[in-house]
Amino acid sequence: MAVEVILPRVDMDMETGKVSRWHAAEGEAVAKGQLLFEIETAKAAMDIEAPASGTLRGVAAREGDELPVGAIVGWICNDGEAPPARAAAAPVGSAVAAPAGPVKVLGDSTPTSLPAARGATATPKARRLAREAGLDVASLAGSGPQGRVQALDVERARGVGAAKSGAPRAHGEWLRRGAGPPFVFLHGFGAELGVWKPLVQRLDPSRGALALDMPGHGLSPPPPDDVTLDALVAAVEAALAAEGVARFHLVGHSLGGAVAAMLAARLGERVFSLTLVAPAGLGPEIDGAFMDGFLRATSVASLRPWLRRLARDPETLGAGLAEATLKRRAERGLGPGQARIAAALMPDGVQAIDVRPALAAFGGPARVVFGAEDAIIPPRHAVGLPGAVAVHVLAGVGHNPQLEARAEMARILSDQAAAGDARVR
């Protein structure tokens, strides 16, 4: 049986090879192992031996032909045998086709130096904020190095939090990122933003939730020496500007409720809905003993009894609250700042702030939620509010409805979000 002679692969990267020289001619007798032909690859020349003894027939490659690997270049036949009739492989072409057009050298179109500055440079965040606000960054004056436009410059141009660029900014944390106007949460005196986490878990997961630490609380900077309710509002406003939050649903608890009411009055329609939970600022009474005891406590033993007043069922506040409160207070030196806030806004156990006018001025969906058994601020403060403000007084609940009545609170906020979004559309 005739044995085929192929153009063998002799290099890992070889796809074609050139038959450079035959050492035997058609019809000539060859012996197994004898030098049969030479091939040339891109790398080197190589001798190919006859794979069998017999007569070379059906030579299908001329010297100089370039063929693909595995192509049959001839047959070694027994006497009188004819090679099988099979089409020989077409030569690949004796030369590699020249590329059309100019040859592109790698990298020759890439400038190695930056072009001369053209217009303003801007940070990615500034560009994003400008795009969202419909501003052209090129038109803005940059305050960064080499005039680079930074987020602050866009915020100034947009008039958000602008005036108070020097004001301390409250620390914020996105408990959840989401689409559309987010909830913004403001905690009460002595607490921090983490107080909202259990409630946020029950809310619509597609909606964002930004919680802020009030000045003098959590990770926020201390309040100014001459702290006022307006200073707290300004710190919150600055945080919202820094986070790029323009429109939102606002929720405030206790002292944070008072701040929320003031902020809602200031920002008007940018606040889609307003929910005040056991808010301060609606009446004069507050548990002054709690305020004093809370600030004076230096140990778990002296703090825990006061914290029990915060809820009808203290279990709902979570374990370790006293420890965490004292640890944070010690680490961050929160005591003096909180004392200043208490002295300025609630001197002598009396609420020296009044947010009723602000609440009346807010035109959007507004609700006030109290626990019927609130031991810190009496729920009767909800009496006599403007008629458009809905009031919930929850039975069996104390000063922290967001922890004590999570399901009810989640439902109320869901209704508020729906009402606020619908009104704007």
């Binding site: 192929i6 063998p8 692969r9 002799v10 290099d11 890992m12 796809e15 080197a44 190589m46 001798d47 693909p68 690997v69 595995g70």
Partner: protein, 347 residues
């Protein structure tokens, strides 16, 4: 290796019969011959795949070295380990691998021993104790010592044969491994397949000692040199070394002088050796020699050998068919097995 047909073996002329043949048994000898043929035909078929451009990458053929692989593995059981080299197809078959899954690996198919992730240079069969071929010269030697440490610590009674070439005897890994294995009396057979060339450089041009076995003295272990083309000589040395290892006597260095009749890899142009030298070694072909001997001893007649070769041809053809019909790995599984999946991870 099984000795299934030992009882029906015809008696053998006692005079020329190597003593080790009694231990291997007639059935074992026929199986050894079958495996040597299977290796030869696997290599030739692999070469054919390569030259036709049907396979990918390169490969290293062990044609001419079959007696070494099969002779050493004759002394091993399935629970014993081997580590292998870039020229590892023979070790794999000698240790009992299926040629179909080897061809499949060679063609980069999902059914291959390494699911097409390893190729010719990494074929492994851990189920049969083959810890894998290795692309790094000397790479498997310390790994073999580690496997021997496991065998000793876990008291499995296993021994480990580490195949490597003469090129590896100048690697640091070789020297560190021999020292550690001897120091800790570990059950290792260091098997040097001295095929005369480290790629193109002749042994005498690379190595300061006359033979690799001389290195053993430096590590206080026995070192023997045998004719690597003589199955009986290799098997005798391997059994002795394995016995010693199993007794707790520590490692042995066995140098098998042999020859690869093909180039280092398929891109080898054979410029460093002469045709005469190659022809001289071909005349000492280990398979022809073994077959002649078994025939003379009456262990395998010419008819036995012919039917054995036919069976090997069928096994090769079936293996090729299996491999060619096997699917390529899915690119969706590119990242598979970089790490052990969490669910599969044993504690």
């Amino acid at each position: 290796m099984t000795a299934a047909r030992a009882e029906d073996a015809p008696p053998v002329a006692v005079a020329n019969r190597p003593a080790i043949y009694d231990r291997v048994g007639a059935g074992g000898l026929r199986e050894a011959l079958r495996r040597m043929h299977l290796i030869r035909r696997f290599e030739e078929t692999a070469e054919d795949f390569y030259v036709r451009g049907k396979s990918y990458g390169t490969m290293h053929l062990s044609i001419g070295q079959e007696a070494t692989a099969v002779g050493v593995c004759a002394a091993l059981g399935d629970s014993d380990y081997v580590t292998s080299t870039h020229r590892g197809h023979g070790h794999c078959i000698a240790k009992g691998a299926e040629v179909g899954r080897m061809f499949a690996e060679f063609l980069g198919r999902e059914t291959g021993y390494c699911r097409g992730r390893g190729g010719s240079m990494h074929i492994a069969d851990p189920a049969k104790g083959n810890l894998g071929a290795n692309g790094i010269v000397g790479g498997g030697i310390p790994i073999a010592v580690g496997a021997a440490l496991s065998a000793k610590r876990l008291r499995t009674g296993a021994v480990v044969a580490s195949f490597f070439g003469d090129g590896a005897n100048n690697e640091g890994a070789f020297h560190e491994s021999l020292n550690i294995a001897s120091l800790w009396k570990l059950p290792v057979l260091f098997v040097c397949e001295n095929n005369q060339y480290g790629m193109s450089v002749a042994f005498a041009r690379s190595t300061a000692v006359a033979s690799v076995a001389d290195r053993a003295a430096a590590y206080s272990m026995p070192g023997v040199t045998v004719d690597g083309n003589d199955f009986a000589a290799v098997a005798a040395a391997a059994f002795e070394a394995a016995d010693r290892a199993r007794r707790g006597g520590g490692p042995t260095l066995v140098e098998c002088k042999t020859y690869r009749t093909r180039g280092h890899s398929r891109s080898d142009r054979n410029r460093y050796r002469t045709k005469d030298e190659i022809e001289a070694w071909k005349a000492r072909d280990p398979i022809e020699r073994f077959e002649r001997e078994l025939s003379a001893l009456g262990v395998a007649t010419a008819a036995d050998a012919a039917s054995l070769r036919e069976a090997v041809e069928r096994e090769i053809a079936d293996g090729v068919a299996f491999a060619e019909a096997s699917p390529a790995p899915s690119t969706a599984e590119l990242m598979r097995d970089v790490h052990t999946p969490a669910a599969a991870a044993p504690r």
